[in-house]
Symmetry: C2
Subunit: 342 residues, 2 copies
């Protein structure tokens, strides 16, 4: 291992002072062009890179953002956060920032982690995921003036006094309904989660609005409220198919539910949500969240606060898109029976 280069060793070789080298890197406008050129040459030659720790000592910037890794909930939807994480890391990298991870069992422990990361100067800000009703984390952070942004709206009616980015779930299910209507479906059911979850209710609302707008029925019997899972989706679909007037298509609140629903019948058209790898794999039409833009927006919000550029909280609501695959098709002609697809 060669000797580690420092600001001084570069300075000596370029026959300038420490500070000039620093200026070349941080405030080039203060340095005469030819001097800067000479210094830059030495920097390249030696492969010098400033020590982050030393820099952090004076600037009080760790150039790190904290992000909690969610516990594995066993669902097939976990991949969403995985891709979001990837996008955040990518976006951060372009701003010379990095992401440090931590795990926590619950909101309380997550707050403990914030506290530690802040006290020790390990992170400059945070990106939160999975916001929910009565989320104590945002209040804690806001109270202390910590830079952060959430991927997910503050669902409680409480304070919106922080920046957030979210995807318009209602717009997603609306798009799914409109797609099905265009294919000729006139009776479209919804398989979602029990009321009370912000995300779930939002997606149900989109289905209802679009169905109403198209003059389609939104009767209670066309709505299922079950916990997330493939088996639950299958059961809900089976129940609806047993109705006197069964739906010809189902809009589902998740790919898990949708995966179950497609197993119930081959003639049924089904849409999922999140466009997980499984949806891609089994040919499921699904609502895709724009995770890359979402991550970029979150990052911008946090870094604006870190950099003191923020005036007031920003809110970004992104519109998802529908990825159409084989699981949606025109309804079978009346009177036909279930059968194998070609």
């Amino acid at each position: 291992m060669a000797t580690r280069h420092t600001l001084d060793s570069v300075a000596e070789r370029a026959r300038v002072s420490r500070q000039t080298v620093s200026n070349v890197l941080n405030s080039p406008h203060l340095v005469r062009p030819d001097t800067a050129e000479r210094v830059r040459a030495v920097i390249d030659e030696l492969g010098y890179r400033p020590s982050r720790a030393a820099r952090q000592m004076r600037t009080r910037r760790s150039m790190l953002l904290g992000l909690r890794l969610e516990p594995d909930r066993g669902g097939i939807n976990g991949a969403v956060l995985d891709r979001f994480l990837h996008a955040v890391v990518d976006a951060a990298q372009e701003q010379q920032y990095r992401v440090v991870l931590f795990t926590a069992d619950d909101d309380g422990h997550e707050i403990d982690s914030y506290s530690q990361l802040l006290d020790t100067g390990e992170a400059d800000g945070f990106v939160l995921t999975s916001t929910h009703h009565g989320d104590p984390r945002t209040a804690w952070l806001a109270e202390r003036g910590v830079p952060f942004s959430t991927f997910g709206r503050p669902w409680g009616a409480a304070d919106q006094h922080h920046s957030w980015v979210d995807v318009d779930g209602a717009a997603g299910t609306r798009a799914a309904v409109e797609h099905l209507v265009e294919l000729g479906h006139r009776r479209i059911g919804f398989v979602g989660w029990p009321r009370g979850s912000g995300v779930g209710d939002d997606r149900r609302d989109g289905w209802r609005e679009a169905a109403r707008a198209a003059g389609l029925p939104v009767a209670r019997e066309l709505q299922a409220a079950v916990h997330d899972g493939v088996a639950e989706g299958r059961a809900a679909a089976d129940a609806m198919l047993a109705l006197r007037e069964p739906p010809t298509a189902l809009v589902c609140a998740s790919d898990s539910l949708a995966l179950g629903a497609v197993g119930a019948s081959n003639v049924l058209s089904v849409t999922g949500f999140d466009d997980t790898p499984v949806a891609r794999a089994v040919g499921l039409t699904s609502v895709a969240q724009p995770l890359v833009p979402a991550a970029a927006a979150c990052l911008e919000q946090v870094l604006d606060v870190v950099g003191g550029r923020a005036d007031a909280p920003h809110h970004v609501l992104l519109v998802p898109s529908l990825t159409v695959r084989q699981s949606t098709h025109p309804p079978a002609p009346a009177g036909s029976t279930r059968g194998e697809r070609a």
Copy 2:
């Protein structure tokens, strides 16, 4: 925001010197018990936590490990690395270490990232995943004496001069075959990837060994070599079912392939690999990798080198376990036709 506490502010309040406070935290045996007690009380009272940056300046330890986030390959197997990552972060946390992420398009860029992280002192070591034939990363790191460990064997015959942890894939497929034999299957096919991938060949070998040991055929027609994917799995299964003497069970190299295979026929028994959330969701018998122990072992290996406790490279090969679900069952009695399962 209250004033940030430092070693000095704690020292003043406890009426001792800076260094004594430091010793209480790092070398308690040097401090008289009653003094330590008094200092500790002040530390708790003020909620003091040492600055990592300042500590890093002298100790030259960032207390961070670098890990590359794999690009989303679109497969349903990505969840494996996700869970591994979670386990690594968890294990690191217990040793006061954290994980910083970075992304890279290929091995070359990954090496660039190593270089940067090391030069700037952002990471003390690395955990690598997805090792493959002719992997240039391990050589680069080993050459420089960088602490690292890989999750995955060095598949090239090349140097084993570094620590690694891996899961015995052959043992996994052997277990799958044995399970199927026990259920009464006498003709078991294998759906795997094209030769050349270390992981894939390993899994195929396990199937062959176990089949041979049980006196079962391992004819070429019972082996499929296709790229990973649900559609590919389906096609391979369909082809085998069309044989004059079709297999009654299929061992697959991945859950993606297995998911396709179960779609081909209801009477066929199928096993997957990796026990992904999808396998859980659709009731697929699958080989489960012990990711938590694997992560713990990787971490121990890296930190042993970082801490100078390592004598020589260590190698750990863990045995996977089979999670049995509904996709495996006794073979249908001869002469019966395909039908719906109950």
